[in-house]
C-alpha cells in the first residue's frame, strides 16, 4: 500500500524549515530510519528519516521549498500491511467520507476555535463577536478602541497583525526600496536562513529588553598559567583545553551566588522564574552565521568535560548538525570574541535569559601592585555584562562583574 510521509513536528518554537537536500529519488528504495530529506531550520539542519520501508513513488518537495509541520513530503509504496494512514486523516477532514461505510467524521470545528461561554462584559456588536470566533480570538482579552471602549472589527484585525508580527519576531514596517547600483557596482547575496532568523531574534531582543552594559576587567594571569598546564595534560588524552571552560566555571560560581542573573521573566512579565540549573549558551560563529549551542549543568562538570563538550558542540554547529534541543534551555550566555580582538563590546541579551557575558581580547598590562609598591606585568581580560534592566539593577550588575573578576583572578576556585 501507499504510505504518505508527512513532515513531523519539528520541535517547540520551530514552525517551518527549508529543504536543503532531498536524499532519495523516485523509484529508489528506502529502509526505516533512512534519511529522505534534509532540512535547514532554526540554526540547525535536520535529517528527516523514513518511518516505513519501501519504494519511493512520488516526491512532492524539492530543495529550497519552505515546509511546515504536516506537509506531505513523499509517497512510499510499502510492503507492510495495515500501515496507519495518518496522512489521509490529517489532510482530508473537510471532505465528508463516503456514505454509510465510513466512521463518522467528527465535527470539523472541534478544536478549531473556542469562544468564552458568554459575551458578558464584552462591548462588541454581534458581527464583531462572530468575527472573533472566526479568527479564533478570545474576545475577552481584546481592548476596544471604539467609542467608550467598543471593540471594533479593526481591533480584531489589529490584534491578528500584532500576533503575526510578534510571532515573526519583528514589527517592522515595509521599507522603501533603494537602488544602490546608482552609486556604483553592487552584488546581491541572499541572507542565510540562520542569519535571517538570528536577525529577527536579535532585533526583537534589542527592542523588547532595556539593555545596559557593564564593563570590567579581570586579572587572569594565574588561571592562564594553570590553563597552559592543563592543556599540556589534555593533549595526552586528546582534549584541547581552552580558556572558555574557566570562564564558564567562573560565571556559574557567580550565578549561583546571584540567582537573579540566572532567572527569566515569565510570559506575564509579572514574575521572575529562578532556575536551579546552570546551562550556559555559548555563542559560536559559523560560516552560516551565529549559533548558540547550550552546555548543560556546567556546575557539575570538570574543565576537561567542558572542553570536550565545547569541542563537540562547536564542530557540529559549524557543520549544521546541531539538534534543535541542543540550542534550547540556556540560563545565561557567554559570547567570547577574545580570540579575535577588541577591547570591549556590548552583547545583546538572549531572551528569555536576562544577562549575557561578553569577553574581549586579553592583553598584558602594567598593573600597579600596591603591596609590592611596583608595577607588575599582568594578563588582563576585558569583559562586559549586558543585562535586562527590568530584572537587574546597575548596582547588582557592578557587583556581579566585580565578583567575577575576583573569581577569575583566584586560582583556588579552579583547583579541585
Amino acid at each position: 500500500m501507499i504510505k504518505e510521509i508527512i513532515l513531523p513536528e519539528l520541535g517547540e518554537g520551530i514552525d517551518g524549515a527549508e529543504v536543503s537536500e532531498v536524499s532519495v529519488v523516485v523509484g529508489g528504495v528506502v529502509a526505516v530510519d533512512e534519511t529522505i530529506v534534509v532540512l535547514e531550520s532554526d540554526k540547525a539542519s535536520m535529517e528527516i528519516p523514513a518511518d516505513v520501508s519501501g519504494t519511493i513513488t512520488e516526491i512532492l518537495v524539492e530543495a529550497g521549498d519552505e515546509l511546515k509541520s504536516g506537509c506531505l513530503l513523499m509517497k512510499i509504496e510499502t510492503t507492510e500491511k495495515n500501515v496507519e494512514t495518518k496522512a489521509t486523516e490529517q489532510r482530508a477532514p473537510l471532505t465528508e467520507p463516503e456514505p454509510k461505510t465510513e466512521e463518522l467524521a467528527p465535527p470539523e470545528q472541534e478544536t478549531a476555535f473556542e469562544i468564552p461561554r458568554s459575551s458578558e462584559n464584552v462591548f462588541a456588536s454581534p458581527g464583531v463577536r462572530r468575527l472573533a470566533r472566526e479568527l479564533g480570538i478570545n474576545i475577552q482579552i481584546i481592548k476596544g478602541s471604539g467609542q467608550k471602549g467598543r471593540i471594533t472589527k479593526d481591533d480584531l484585525n489589529g490584534y491578528i497583525k500584532l500576533q503575526m508580527a510578534m510571532s515573526s519576531g519583528s514589527a517592522s514596517t515595509p521599507k522603501q526600496e533603494v537602488d544602490f547600483s546608482r552609486w556604483g557596482d553592487v552584488e546581491i547575496q541572499k541572507l542565510t536562513r540562520i542569519k535571517r532568523i538570528a536577525g529577527e531574534r536579535l532585533q526583537s531582543a534589542w527592542q523588547s529588553i532595556p539593555h545596559v552594559t557593564q564593563f570590567d576587567e579581570a586579572d587572569i594571569t594565574d588561571i592562564d598559567a594553570y590553563r597552559k598546564k592543563l592543556k599540556t595534560e589534555g593533549i595526552k588524552n586528546g582534549t584541547k583545553v581552552t580558556f572558555l571552560p574557566f570562564l564558564m566555571k567562573a560565571a556559574t560560581i557567580v550565578l549561583k551566588e546571584r540567582p537573579a542573573f540566572n532567572s527569566s521573566l515569565d510570559h506575564t512579565d509579572q514574575n521572575l522564574v529562578f532556575k536551579n540549573y546552570y546551562h550556559l549558551g555559548i555563542a559560536v560563529d559559523t560560516p552560516n552565521g551565529l549559533t548558540v549551542p547550550v552546555v548543560r549543568d556546567v556546575d557539575k562538570k570538570s574543565i576537561f568535560d567542558l572542553s570536550e563538550n565545547l569541542r563537540d558542540l562547536s564542530s557540529r554547529a559549524r557543520d549544521k548538525k546541531l539538534k534543535p534541543d541542543e540550542m534550547k534551555g540556556a540560563t545565561f550566555t557567554i559570547s567570547s570574541l577574545g580570540g579575535i580582538g577588541g577591547t570591549g563590546f556590548s552583547p545583546i541579551v538572549n531572551p528569555p535569559e536576562v544577562a549575557i557575558l561578553g569577553v574581549s581580547r586579553s592583553a598584558w598590562k602594567q598593573v600597579f601592585d600596591k603591596k609590592a609598591g611596583e608595577f607588575q606585568a599582568r594578563f588582563v581580560m576585558p569583559f562586559s555584562l549586558s543585562y535586562d534592566h527590568r530584572v537587574i539593577d546597575g548596582a547588582a550588575a557592578a557587583a556581579f562583574t566585580s565578583r567575577l573578576a575576583v573569581v577569575l583572578s583566584d586560582l583556588s576556585y579552579f583547583k579541585d
Binding site: 454509510k100 465535527p107 478549531a112 469562544i115 459575551s119 456588536s125 454581534p126 463577536r129 470566533r133
Partner: protein, 470 residues
C-alpha cells in the same frame, strides 16, 4: 426491507428552526434531507401556532377597534361572523406560507421526507412514511422536533370539548362559555380571539399573576382590558377536575384558597405550557443526553453529547420561541458544515400578541429584583405620546432598564399597540451595547409609537421635554 437514503445533514422537524437549519446547511453546500411528520412544512408555528393565531388576533383586534370608533363618531352595525369564511381566510394564509417554504426547499434542492423519524443509532434514522419505512443514514443530524401542548391531571384530554392550542385554532365553533386553563401567552391570545368572536371566556391561572414572570406593570394594561373582555379572570386558582356530561357541557372543579366550586363550560382550552417531543424520537438509541425535564442537552454550538447530533428549538429548552429556534437552527447548520458559529446572543425577546401587546427583552424588573441585580430605569408613559392618544393606545408604556455603572441597556419592556414590533429596537440596543445617551441622541420620527423608546432614554437622561419631571 426498507428503502435507504443517506444525507450529509438530516434535519428532523420542519418548523421555523428546522427549515432554517436545513436551508442554511443547503446554502452552505450540504446535501440535506428534511424530515417532518406533518403533511406540510412550517411546523407548529406556521400550521397551528404563531401564524394562524396572528391571523385570528388581527381579526379580533380590528373588530375591537371598529367598535371603539363609535366613541369617535363612526358607528358600524353588529358584526356578522361567518366562521367558515374566517377559517378559510386563516387556512389560506397558512397555505400560502406552506407553499412558500416548499418552494424554497425545492429551489435549494433540500429533499423533503414526510414521516415520523426515530433514531436507530448515532448515525441512522428510521422514517415511517405513507409508502413504507425509509432508513436514513447521516453524517450529521439536527433535531428540531419541537414541542407539544402539555396537559394537567384530572382532564379528559381526548374529549372533543377539551381544546389545545392546536384544536382551538381549528375554530370548529364558537363555544358560548369557554374556560381557558392557564393565563400564559397562548391562553390569553386565544382567549381574546374567542372573546371577540362571542365566547364568554373565563381564565383560571394557578399563580397570582397573568403571564407569570412578566413585570406586573406591563401586564396591568392588558389585564384591565381583559377584565372587560372576559367574563372572569381567576388567579391563584386551580382546575382540579373536568368532567364531560352527556349533553356535552363540561363540569369544571376550580379550587382556590376560598374553597372549591363548580362551573359549567361548553369548552375548555388547556394552555398550561408545552413539553418537548423528545419522547417520540427513540433518542435512547443514541448517546444523546436528555435532562430530567425531557430537554436535549446542548452546548453553545447546539451540539449534543453525541457530537454528530445537534438539537435546536423547543426541544432543547425554554424559552420555546420560534425566533430562538431559527437562530439556533442556523448555528447548528453552520457548525455542522464546519463553520465557527455559536449561539452567542445577549437576549431573546418575548412577545405576547394580545391587544395591547406585551413585549420584553433582556433583564426584567422581576428578574432584577429576584437576583439582586442593580439597575436604573427610564420610563415613558404613552399617555404623553400624541401618536398613542390619537390611536387610542394611551394605556401603553415603554421602559428601559439601564446598568447604573455604564448606562448600557440591560432590558426593555413595552406594553401597548405594536410593542412586539418596537421591541426590536431594544434588542438592537442590547446586542450593540448601546447606552442611554446613544438612544436619546438618536433621532426618532414624530409622531410614532417608536419615539417612546427614545423618550424613555431621555427620561433617564433628564433631557425629556415631552414630560415635566419635577
Amino acid at each position: 426491507m426498507a428503502k435507504s437514503k443517506h444525507a450529509e445533514i438530516v434535519v428532523i422537524g420542519a418548523g421555523p428552526g428546522g427549515y432554517a437549519a436545513a436551508f442554511r446547511a443547503a446554502d452552505l453546500g450540504k446535501q440535506v434531507i428534511l424530515v417532518d411528520k406533518d403533511p406540510t412544512l412550517g411546523g407548529v408555528c406556521l400550521n397551528r401556532g404563531c401564524i394562524p393565531s396572528k391571523a385570528l388576533l388581527h381579526l379580533s383586534k380590528t373588530m375591537e377597534e371598529a367598535s371603539h370608533l363609535s366613541k369617535m363618531g363612526i358607528t358600524y352595525g353588529e358584526p356578522q361572523i361567518d366562521l367558515d369564511a374566517i377559517r378559510a381566510h386563516k387556512d389560506k394564509i397558512v397555505l400560502q406560507l406552506n407553499e412558500g417554504i416548499a418552494q424554497m426547499a425545492k429551489d435549494r434542492k433540500v429533499e423533503w421526507v414526510k414521516g415520523a423519524a426515530t433514531f436507530t443509532s448515532n448515525s441512522e434514522l428510521r422514517v415511517k412514511t405513507d409508502v413504507g419505512d425509509i432508513a436514513i443514514s447521516f453524517n450529521k443530524c439536527i433535531v428540531a422536533a419541537g414541542s407539544a401542548s402539555a396537559t394537567i391531571p384530572g382532564l379528559p384530554a381526548d374529549h372533543p370539548s377539551v381544546l389545545t392550542s392546536r384544536t382551538a385554532l381549528d375554530l370548529v365553533d364558537i363555544p358560548k362559555r369557554l374556560l381557558v386553563i392557564g393565563g400564559g401567552i397562548i391562553g390569553l391570545e386565544l382567549g381574546q380571539v374567542y372573546a371577540a368572536l362571542g365566547s364568554r371566556v373565563s381564565v383560571v391561572e394557578r399563580l397570582p399573576h397573568l403571564l407569570p414572570g412578566t413585570d406586573s406593570d406591563l401586564v396591568r394594561p392588558l389585564q384591565r382590558k381583559l377584565k372587560k373582555q372576559f367574563k372572569s379572570i381567576q388567579l391563584s386558582s386551580k382546575v382540579t377536575k373536568v368532567e364531560a356530561s352527556e349533553g356535552g357541557t363540561l363540569e369544571v372543579t376550580i379550587e382556590n384558597e376560598k374553597g372549591t366550586k363548580k362551573e359549567f363550560f361548553n369548552k375548555a382550552l388547556v394552555s398550561v405550557g408545552r413539553k418537548p417531543n423528545t419522547g417520540l424520537l427513540n433518542i435512547e438509541a443514541t448517546d444523546v443526553e436528555v435532562n430530567e425535564h425531557g430537554f436535549i442537552n446542548v452546548d453553545v454550538y447546539q451540539q449534543t453529547s453525541e457530537k454528530n447530533i445537534f438539537a435546536i428549538g423547543d426541544i432543547v429548552g425554554n424559552p420555546m420561541l420560534a425566533h430562538k429556534a431559527t437562530h439556533e437552527g442556523k448555528v447548528a447548520a453552520e457548525v455542522a458544515s464546519g463553520h465557527p458559529a455559536a449561539f452567542d446572543v445577549q437576549a431573546i425577546p418575548s412577545v405576547v400578541y394580545t391587544d395591547p401587546e406585551v413585549a420584553w427583552a433582556g433583564l426584567t424588573e422581576t428578574e432584577a429584583k429576584d437576583n439582586g441585580i442593580a439597575y436604573e430605569k427610564g420610563e415613558f408613559p404613552w399617555a404623553a405620546s400624541g401618536k398613542a392618544i390619537a390611536m387610542n393606545a394611551n394605556q401603553g408604556k415603554t421602559k428601559i432598564l439601564f446598568d447604573p455603572e455604564n448606562k448600557k441597556v440591560l432590558g426593555v419592556g413595552i406594553v401597548g399597540t405594536g410593542a412586539g414590533d418596537m421591541i426590536s429596537e431594544g434588542m438592537l440596543a442590547i446586542e450593540m451595547g448601546a447606552d442611554a445617551e446613544d438612544i436619546s441622541l438618536t433621532v426618532h420620527p414624530h409622531p410614532t409609537l417608536g419615539e417612546t423608546f427614545g423618550m424613555a432614554a431621555e427620561v433617564f437622561e433628564g433631557t425629556i421635554t415631552d414630560l415635566y419631571v419635577p
